[in-house]
Amino acid sequence: MKRFFAVIVPLSALVVFQPFVALGADANEETQLIAVLNSDHPLRDKDAACARLKWVGTPRCVPVLEGLLADAQMTQSACYALESMRCPEAGNALRQALAKTSGSNEVCIIDSLAVRNETAAAPDLARLQTGADSAVAAAAARALGHMSGPEAVSALQTGWSESGAGAVHQAQCDGLLACATRLSNEGDKEQASKIFKGLYDREKDDGIRLAAFRGEILSAGDGGAALLVQAIGGNDAPSQGAALQLAAKVGDSATTKALADLLPKLPVPMKIALLQSLAQRGDPSAQSSIVQMIDNPDVNVRVAAIAALGDLGDGSVALPLARKAAGATGAERSAARQSLVSLRHGPVTDPLLNLLADATPEVQTELIRALCDRGDAAAAPEMLNLAAGGNESTRSAALQALAMLAGPAQVQPLVQLVVNCTNDDVRSEVADVLTSVCQRLDSRKGQYDVQNLVKAVRTAPLDARLALLGVCSGVSDASIRDVLRAAASDPDARVHEAALRSLCETHDPGLLPDLIKVACGDKENKFRLLAVKGCVRLTTQDDSVRLPVGTKLDTLKAIAGTSLSVPEKQLVLSGLSTVNDQRALDLATPMLDDAAVRLEAAKAVIHIAESVSDAHPHEAGAALKKVLAMQTNPATRKSAEKAYKKLQ
């Protein structure tokens, strides 16, 4: 605890710059602070003392603070302390000071009385509210609003005038609104409603009228919904504004119906606003009225209605939405597609599927898109049927959906589909989908039977074999490894190349040794670059593959130890830069000597050095120094300097 004793320490420093000093009731400290306030200390010290008393002050300090309230320079400081003290003495002091102050000082005190909810001050405030000083009068009116209570309400109502204007009138309106709101919240809806209605009926300012009508709705109990509906259907802007803002939450399903029934009668802007309110209400009973709006002549109404159906609709609106998605353009189409995805009341998958059979191709495509985007795995079997037998656009859409939806049960049929395909493009498309499916299932550790795939790679017609070899890149399985290795040794060059390509794209860490062999092999081998890329990807970029750091480094070291082309070196450096290990630094640093990849090497070294700087500051520093010695690129130098400086 800091003490403000004989040494005149700048109090401002102690309070302002050390806000985290532990607090506690310390009578000696308060005594000292009171002494400062009673002394000739500079205002700065007195202000700091007031600030400190806000924290530690008791009723003992109230008299001296009261004395400061009439001092124009210290009023706010004293209010700062007194305002938050709970003791009644503080409130009394503020009240008594009212008669001794004027102007902005008086306003400051009134504001503090309001914050304290000092209802005993209501008679004084009532008087001040009608005084000559408009700033004081306005503050008094605001304060009465804070306090509420019958006396405050009465004072405000007496002071308010229909012909009033200016800051005082505004404050009186605000005070009345605040009082009425509090009354309503405390259960006296009848009194609240009277105040609100009085303001709404007699006040000129539309902003006040809107606020008053809002209060009327909220304090009208069961009658509020009727007011709301009436206002929306009416022609008074303030009440409409208030009603629209509350339309999302007031009333029950009968209110929803009444609001929905208004839709056809409203002008376009109100229709749009009400549609959004109905969506926010979340009451599906509005669905049928909203459906009628999706063919409204105004495009914005149509879009709002379509969007609302996404939130409220059930499976019965799937067809009109799908037709919109197929036939409309722009915002309407986007809204329809999104709403099809969002439908969530009752069963939706079966209605979507049931519509497929009789739908036009365009509508079918939209239904399939929706099923895919909804993630409805139950739709996968039907997607297979459409992929096998549908027209071109439907088949393509179904295949895209299968890439997202297909599960283990669809793997074998997809293999068969590849085998049975007679069209090269379609076969390729199906193979791509099957690859995606396998990768997805693998990444989620899904179990599925690969034996049909293995058998087909070995025995299917050549075109199908080649396509299925590509699929193998997406599968991590011992049988698949065997069949890929066998294919890589196949005398048929096309099979051999398809197998190597698949190997280079594999996600199976079990094939890493095979991949390294190709990457480190004959540099004339046209797959070498792909193999290097595959090694780097598999060891450092594929987040479904988790390999120990040692394996990553051994792989990159093995490759780096061969004669590499510039692109291959760049790939290795990109891989090394992701390995936060000193050994990666040891591998990357020598590559700074190679002018062809010096920039890439510098970037890799900087990145690795930063990551190992805590554990290996010496090595990191040495590597960064080498970068600075050899690197001329300004941006890279700047990075290296920053990293080096951080080390120091």
Partner: protein, 437 residues
């Protein structure tokens, strides 16, 4: 006799959408905000008229376009907006911005436009009946006061964060904005922007993809504002600066050469609300707050009634989260998000798209677009005043805990510290007259 105005008039509250629609609430419908039913122009009577209060770095960015506004040309570049007023206490800023707005409109409309006016005093802007909405980008000590005054003047409000600098004024501001039924958007744009990453993260968390949510690492902790150092020597006020209006509700002090926005703040008052907005959203706590605030490793931390614990520090060895985000830890995994990244462990948690049966949160893909749309339709924005007050309250509660350096109990319903006068004293700072809310 009741007064009836002209219904949906030319200057009424509801504007012809003019082909502009954005997202509605509570469902993931995405409707492009740029559909125009006509040749591309929107009649003056159908534009939302705006005043910009504070046109420094943030405000100028909103007005003319900047990295975080995500709209080329800012609000001035929007065809559905007419900027009628620019206000700043610095003469060069307000005059420069005004000239630039008028030059822009001249290029588009020739001489057929209502010119933008420059103002020193924001009250003159609020008095204008022809202005529908204001964007407040002043120093933070003005935010709550100005937002409340704007609501009282019948304006809709976009207000930069932090939404308030004390707990007391946050609550008071909310009461006023609600009372007047105004549309309010807090400048916590992460709920709308950045490709929807933050929303997705919150949807995944609330859909149970990480199991039961247990902990949140917020990367930043609490903050607040201090009573300034007053009665110093003072310096001449620069020509063109209205120092009295710069100070506003702050206690009077002589000009000290430090008219910077975040003076007298401590902790994470400036940035914290971005983080805690996402924390609250993911924890499904938009309508409540913590029940306990405690200190750990000199950082404020929080406990919620549902058992979730929020730490005001990074998750160990997880870099994602530092830039406006958080790391959510559940019983079966974790998700981390910030402005650049959305990641999870295991990785697949965030790869699968949101299913219809999962939790869908309010979808907005433009924070400014969402605000403007709600000005038209009177619907709730994605960051309304209720949400803003809760998120800034989390920051400010942490600030009180840091000042007192002990555990505090908080009643989120009463919005008071429980049986703790010492803490409750720190909920307000007396405002300079006449700026009390």
């Amino acid at each position: 006799m009741s007064k009836v105005s002209a219904g949906i008039s030319r200057r009424g509250f509801i504007r012809q959408a003019g082909g502009v629609l954005a997202t509605a609430a509570a469902f993931p419908a995405i409707v492009p905000a740029s559909v125009l039913g006509r040749s591309g122009a929107i009649a003056p009577s159908e534009r939302i008229t705006m005043g910009f209060i504070g046109v420094g770095g943030q405000g100028g960015g909103h007005l003319f376009g900047g990295a975080w506004t995500y709209v080329t040309g800012g609000y001035a570049g929007r065809k559905e907006v007419q900027v009628l007023a620019v206000c700043d206490v610095w003469r060069n800023k307000r005059e420069g911005a005004t000239a630039r707005v008028n030059e822009h409109y001249r290029e588009i409309y020739g001489n057929q436009f209502a010119p933008c006016q420059a103002y020193d005093d924001f009250r003159r802007v609020l008095e204008r009946k022809d202005i529908d909405a204001v964007l407040i980008a002043t120093p933070p000590h003005w935010h709550a006061t100005m937002a409340a005054m704007a609501a009282q003047a019948g304006k809709d409000i976009y207000c930069e964060k932090p939404s308030a600098v004390t707990l007391g004024e946050a609550v008071a501001m909310r009461a006023v904005v609600q009372r007047y039924g105004r549309v309010f958007q807090a400048g916590t744009q992460q709920r709308s922007e950045y490709g929807g990453k933050f929303r997705q993260a919150c949807e995944f968390v609330r859909s149970g993809r990480i199991g039961k949510l247990k902990e949140i690492y917020a990367y930043r902790d609490g903050g607040g504002i201090l009573w300034p150092k007053r009665f110093g020597a003072g310096r001449p006020v620069p020509d063109g600066l209205d120092w009295d209006l710069w100070l506003g509700p702050m206690p009077w002090l002589p000009y000290d050469g430090n008219p910077v926005a975040h003076r007298d703040e401590f902790g994470e008052l400036n940035w914290g609300q971005h983080h805690y907005d996402i924390v609250q959203w993911a924890a499904d706590a938009d309508e409540t707050g913590p029940v306990e605030i405690f200190m750990e490793d000199k950082r404020s931390c929080y406990k919620y009634a549902n058992g979730v614990v929020v730490y005001g520090k990074p998750y160990p060895d997880e870099p994602v989260g530092a830039d406006g985000g958080a790391c959510f830890v559940g019983t079966t995994g974790r998700i981390a998000v910030d402005r650049d990244s959305l990641v999870s462990d295991p990785p697949d948690l965030v790869r699968e798209p949101l299913r219809p049966d999962e939790v869908h949160l309010y979808h907005s893909d433009s924070h400014s677009g969402n605000f403007l749309e709600c000005v038209r339709t009177r619907q709730r924005t994605i960051c309304p005043v209720e949400v803003a007050v809760r998120s800034i309250s989390a920051v400010l509660l942490g600030g009180v805990a840091k000042q007192l350096n002990r555990t505090l109990k908080w009643d989120p319903k009463a919005e008071q510290f429980v049986g703790d006068e010492e803490a409750n004293r720190l909920m307000t700072i007396a405002k300079r007259a006449p700026w009390n809310i």
